[in-house]
């Protein structure tokens, strides 16, 4: 089996429109959460989100091309461009054929669908825009990336709610590891800020009326986010041979299903995914130096995640730094795991551990070292990135310092 290197990184989210901007925000512990601007939130129980502030397609796409691409897929292409450019990929016909694209998305282009539904249900019009279907489909991100770079290899999209991007990155990792693909572009993208989607989240009563405070005693729920993060994965040896910069290695993927409840998290299911990731990476618990938590800041998740980490790491958990960067980039659903895998990659590459922002007071039920509010200058060797989705579908990625 081949070792797998991350050679390219791209990101756009509330913390910045490039990876250096994202990294600076993470390191400074600066949250991108603020009043929702892209949608009228006056008739919602919550007013805050983590948006790509002031986003318009113009600097990125010509008007006519943008007509065909929903915001979520625009984010996917923007992040993929940065990732491919930073990897310095030199395309050949053979590489295009042997390259894979695997993206994650939860709601896809439902914002476009929402507009179409308003046309027929609210405004009483008899027709919706003819591009509603191709803009709404969740695989549009992968499709537009393939067209952008002329990639003709295996390409698809995975939708497992908040774990989507972790499952996607994990499959891409396994495909490069096994030799099925010689290069992969992978990650996740999401743009859920349309009124109908926000109303659906409001109805679940899991969104915070103020901000996102993971693992804090006074946490009141999640804050929705948007954006994308993309990675270029290559076999380590090939990457070294061509002199590519290697940001980190992916060394393991663990997956599990709770087989329990459609929304209530299970600590056992999460623990199984953690153990599976360690097993896939041939790592012992004491080798892990940092965990980027799922950390949604709902009352239920953070307790279940703490229980899972304690079940797997035992007494080691007392000294294991764990943070939730959702406190800064929000919960970007199908993009969440990509943003968090990027945070873990940067932690390994740049030698800092990003904090859990907005932290106020410890919760005895979440008794972990959650890196409150300030990043730490620490170089660790191995990190995990946790994703535990609604529906009980879990994925954990294991990363190694390059």
């Amino acid at each position: 089996m081949r070792r797998v290197a991350i050679t390219g990184l791209g990101a756009i989210c509330a913390l910045g429109r490039t990876v250096p901007e994202f990294a600076a925000s993470l390191c400074q512990g600066r949250s991108g959460i603020g009043p929702i601007q892209s949608t009228d939130a006056s008739h919602l129980r919550f007013q805050n989100g983590a948006e790509v502030h002031g986003y318009t397609h113009q600097p990125y796409f010509e008007d006519r091309r943008a007509d065909f691409i929903d915001r979520f897929a625009q984010f996917a292409v923007i992040a993929a461009r940065e990732a491919v450019a930073s990897a310095g990929v030199e395309w050949t016909p053979q590489l295009r054929e042997n390259a894979a694209i695997i993206t994650g998305s939860c709601v896809g282009g439902q914002s476009t669908e929402d507009i179409g539904f308003q046309e027929v249900y609210k405004l009483g019009h008899n027709r919706v825009h003819p591009l509603t279907i191709p803009k709404t489909m969740a695989n549009a991100g992968a499709s537009h990336i393939s067209m952008e770079f002329g990639i003709t290899g295996p390409s698809f999209t995975i939708s497992t709610a908040c774990s989507s991007a972790a499952h996607a990155i994990g499959q891409a990792y396994w495909m490069v590891r096994s030799g099925v693909a010689d290069l992969a572009i992978t990650g996740g993208s999401e743009a859920p800020f349309s009124f109908g989607i926000l109303k659906a989240w409001e109805a679940m009563r899991v969104v915070s009326p103020e901000t996102c405070r993971p693992f804090s005693r006074d946490r009141r729920g999640m804050i929705l986010g948007e954006g994308a993060a993309m990675f270029v994965l290559e076999p380590l040896e090939a990457a070294r041979a061509r002199g590519a910069s290697i940001h980190a290695e992916i060394v393991g993927l663990g997956m599990s299903a709770d087989a329990g409840h459609i929304t209530q998290p299970s600590a056992e299911g999460a623990a199984r995914a953690l153990r599976a990731a360690l097993r896939d990476a041939s790592l012992a618990p004491e080798q892990i130096g940092y965990i980027n938590a799922h950390g949604t800041a709902t009352p239920a998740n953070d307790v279940a995640e703490t229980t899972a980490i304690r079940a797997v790491f035992g007494a080691l958990a007392d000294r294991l730094p764990v943070s939730s960067t959702k406190s800064m980039h929000g919960h970007a659903l199908g993009a969440a795991a990509a943003l968090e895998c990027l945070a873990a990659t940067l932690a390994l590459r740049d030698g800092f551990l990003p904090p859990t922002a907005n932290f106020t007071e410890p919760d005895p039920e979440c008794n972990l070292d959650v890196i409150p509010n300030h990043s730490r200058r620490v170089q660790v060797e191995y990190a995990l990135s946790n994703s535990f989705a609604f529906g009980g579908l879990n994925a954990v990625l294991a990363l190694r310092k390059a």
């Binding site: 008739h43 129980r45 009563r205 409840h261 929304t263 209530q264």
Partner: protein, 88 residues
Amino acid sequence: MSQELTERVLKTIATSKRIPLEQVTIDSEFQQLGIDSMDAVEILFALENEFDISIPDEEVRNVRNVRQMVEGVEKLVAAKAAGAPASQ
């Protein structure tokens, strides 16, 4: 506590959770009825429609039984009758 309002709340809980009305009493704990957090959110949705009220998240955080739920609904219905601005 109005008998009529109580009965409507009990009926709404039974219908939403799909359990026999006889099982739901003013003294029932959610745990006894097998009502988990997602069931509770659905019951709140049904109560909002039944009484045309809006139930804020803060009002429900510590509600664990039927009596607390009836009292909460009663308060919101009274506030609505008194012309208090409906919270969103």
